[in-house]
Subunit: 513 residues, 2 copies
């Protein structure tokens, strides 16, 4: 057995079922091994941003790590931005990066570079294979680290270790789960909640599962508090059987407004809210004066289990939250706005959809309307590195072939990784990409306006607008093999989304704002 | 004056005229400053691979550094692959990367990451601004380092330093040129050449200017040797008034074959030839046994000046190389092959064209035919990080508005940075992109075949083929605003290329192999 075969046989033992890939020459022994040791589905992306974003989306939905296969430092580098998002989402992706044969590394061949330096900022663990024999065990090390730390792990695999005989299937220990929260911590928070002072529970991580949200809502009902969701969760469940909850907004003054009036802010699987960017005169940490901060569970800990323990400690297991008010969503008519697009998505999504939200400036209305939609999962842009939506939707669809995936997608962000549409076409994935087409980086115009620039000069206008020429989304989609239509009114958009959800395979709808 | 304005005023002082950019919120003070302190043309790219590749292409052709403006770690990361190529080309690009306000950095906001760790592998110099006042001087430090080391330099600019008052225009010292070669070194090589044993002069860097090649050819004629070009030069001049020279090929056995029979190999602005990848049973360093290696000039040194000195030291200033045999190139007819495409480009390029060569497996024939073309400059994929062609052609066209740019482009590589077509459309650049459309990563099939895999299994076939669906290049080009045609025969291709060279603005020709 070759080293590459031992590595893949071990990966299969470890439960890996999908590898998103864009390999080159140094990875050819691994490419061959996927045929020699079948059991892992390989999915090609036309650039590595697609590969790593798809691995993130897959892993968030599948719950087991996807593997990526990337080509040396430059190939890895192209995937860093979406690994940054995966890191912020605490997604345990396992990257395998090919490297020159060990004896060829001193030659400093053209593609050589410092892979560790590139990998460290987005990986909880970085390591190298040391022989054909040990490559399987080294894959296990990467996998254990990824699952233990809930972070991407990166294994650099030398070509000669991969092509040499002597590979072995390594023993795979049980998958480490998230760290458990101590009872002491639970009791301390329970004591705070018993004070009668109004608390907010801020949920992130697996606290945003349906059960986690329900449990949190019962606790809040029992102690007279409110449940909130962190701003950009890796994954959140919504639907008629899930209590609706407010999400923290984007701008710092709005976050402070959302948290106004709470005496206590309890972090449940998330970190203290901080400003997305620093603004003159605004604080970095967005906790109002007079609000005390408490941690029930860190992002690396089992927040859902901690909520169960807290429900018990607060005696709220049988509390009944009041029946929530759900928003009324009207069918959009006439010219499109960003909230009209959000409404159209809420009104047309089938039961059990996955909504990937990279709407940026266009999707602000969605969390407020989504409680009116059928049961669904929303996954969002955790790290702010744009170009995540099309890839993540691709990976989510590979993970959940029975669920319809809707990518609520800003146009500027979509252009970063538009190549991902091709993978959707090749894999016949049931994804509808809804492009919010305003032909500008609207969020940057908003930021300029906050800075007092309401009429940008020609240079600033040229760097925030996407017109002249406006990208033709139906042509781009067709170029990658995805059927597409253009909608300019609410009526057309509703029709297009209903149609797309009925026909199998990928679709793109350009919603012109 | 704000810090950002001081930085830009200094950049203008330093001769910077173009900034390729994809900014975000942290860069908004710089975006505003381009209007407040006019003098630098800003060119937006829809992803950072376009931005850095264009900066590389511009700087190779303009001879003065382009600036880039990139958004935090993830934005920089998207540009690393093409900065890797710039590093291998010894291109002094100056990157300015926005960073969170200094007081906001401890908050570890979503987009925060270790920018230094990302930048170091592709930068000769990495630094940070330390205040609004010093930002101009820190830009000068970056610029001096870039020009001294002939490598990209990266300045990380904190948002508060950029938006604060107190900026100043820093003094700009003269631009450092490449290091000079010592006369001792020249004399040592002259002594070797006087031995009467057959030498090869292997040229890289500025030795591949028209004058450098002519001087090298005179020396070779005087001492009975041959002049060769390194495999993938940053820039090489060709034409009727430039002696033609062989280029080192790609595969190691072919390189060894090219160098067979030389007693001495003299490196002139390049490094010893090494294998692009390590192969079992093949050496890393590709110098035949019995060939002695000598260095006239390192890649960082002034190789052209060293050749002048060597011509004098060897008394070959007035030597006349024999009139070279130039290839006869026939007009391609019928079905297209990769050499038919090379021939069509040779036969239709106007005087003074710039040929960007990212043909990968399709452009192997070009260097052998190019001596029949009118005077032109070829720029190539130096670092092997694919996705350089469309961006570099964009940058070259910005640098040289009076020259026609032809991008000889492999399809798989083009898909990495296809977004660059939009910048060509927006800037009305005179670029013709010739897509060698074989719908596969042909080079990987060749590598599999070298490894003995002639019939790849389904996994390997799926990761090396780009069909199912084949990208529709005319649709993709139209989506980005570039008119496009499809050619399936030599006759059609010749027509399409002639037409494209006559009409201003960008064009794309899909040459179906």
């Amino acid at each position: 057995m070759k080293g590459a075969e031992g590595l893949l046989a071990t990966a299969i033992e470890a439960g890996v079922r999908v590898c998103f890939a864009n390999p080159g020459t140094t990875e050819m022994p691994l490419v061959e091994a996927f045929d020699a040791v079948p059991g892992i589905r390989t999915v090609l992306g036309l650039s590595e941003g697609v590969v790593t974003g798809a691995a993130d989306g897959y892993t968030r939905m599948a719950g087991v790590p996807a593997m990526t296969l990337l080509h040396l430092g430059p190939g890895f580098a192209n995937g860093i931005a979406n690994l940054h998002n995966a890191r912020r989402a605490r997604t345990p992706v396992i990257n395998v990066v090919g490297e020159h044969a060990t004896w060829h590394q001193p030659a400093d061949a053209p593609l050589a570079s410092d892979i560790e330096s590139l990998a460290a900022p987005v990986s909880g663990w970085v390591g190298r294979t040391t022989s054909a024999r040990s490559a399987g065990a080294e894959f296990v090390e990467a996998r254990q680290a990824a699952l233990r730390d809930r972070l991407p792990a990166t294994l650099i695999a030398a070509a000669d270790h991969m092509w040499s005989e002597g590979g072995t299937t390594a023993d795979v220990p049980p998958a480490p789960g998230p760290a458990e929260v101590e009872q002491e911590q639970v009791d301390a928070v329970a004591k705070v909640l018993a004070s009668g002072e109004r608390p907010a529970l801020l949920l992130g991580g697996n606290a945003l599962s349906a059960d986690g949200i329900r449990t949190a809502a019962r606790i809040a009902a029992a102690v007279g508090g409110e449940v909130l969701a962190e701003r950009s969760p890796a994954r959140i469940e919504r639907g008629p059987d899930v209590p609706p909850l407010r999400s923290l907004p984007y701008f710092p003054e709005d976050v402070l407004g959302s948290l106004d009036g709470f005496s206590h802010l309890v972090l449940v699987g998330t970190t203290e809210p901080v400003a997305f960017f620093g603004y003159e005169g605004m604080p970095s940490v967005l906790v109002p004066d007079g609000t005390q901060l408490h941690t029930l569970a860190d992002p690396g800990q089992d927040a859902a289990a901690a909520l169960d323990a807290l429900a018990e400690a607060t005696g709220s297991a049988d509390a009944r939250p009041p029946a929530p008010q759900r928003p009324e969503v009207r069918a959009p008519q006439g010219d499109l706005t960003s909230s009209a697009i959000a409404a159209a998505i809420v009104l047309t999504q089938p039961e059990g959809a996955i909504v990937v939200n990279e709407g940026v400036s266009s999707s602000g209305a969605y969390p407020g309307l989504a409680a009116a939609a059928p049961r669904h999962t929303e996954i969002t842009l955790t790290g702010g590195a744009i170009g995540m939506g099309i890839p993540a939707a691709t990976g989510a669809a590979v993970a959940c072939p029975d669920r319809h995936v809707i990518d609520f997608q800003a146009d500027g962000s979509a252009l970063y990784t538009v190549q991902g549409l091709w993978t959707q076409a090749r894999q016949r994935l049931d994804v509808t990409t809804v492009i919010c087409s305003n032909s500008r980086y609207r969020i940057l115009e908003a930021e300029l306006s906050r800075a007092g620039v309401d009429r940008p000069g020609p240079a600033a206008a040229g760097m925030t607008a996407l017109g002249d020429p406006a990208p033709d989304w139906t042509a781009l989609a067709a170029g990658f093999g995805v059927p597409a239509v253009r909608a300019t009114t609410g009526e057309q958009l509703l029709d297009a989304l209903r149609q797309a959800s009925l026909e199998p395979g990928p679709h793109l709808v350009e919603a012109v704002i």
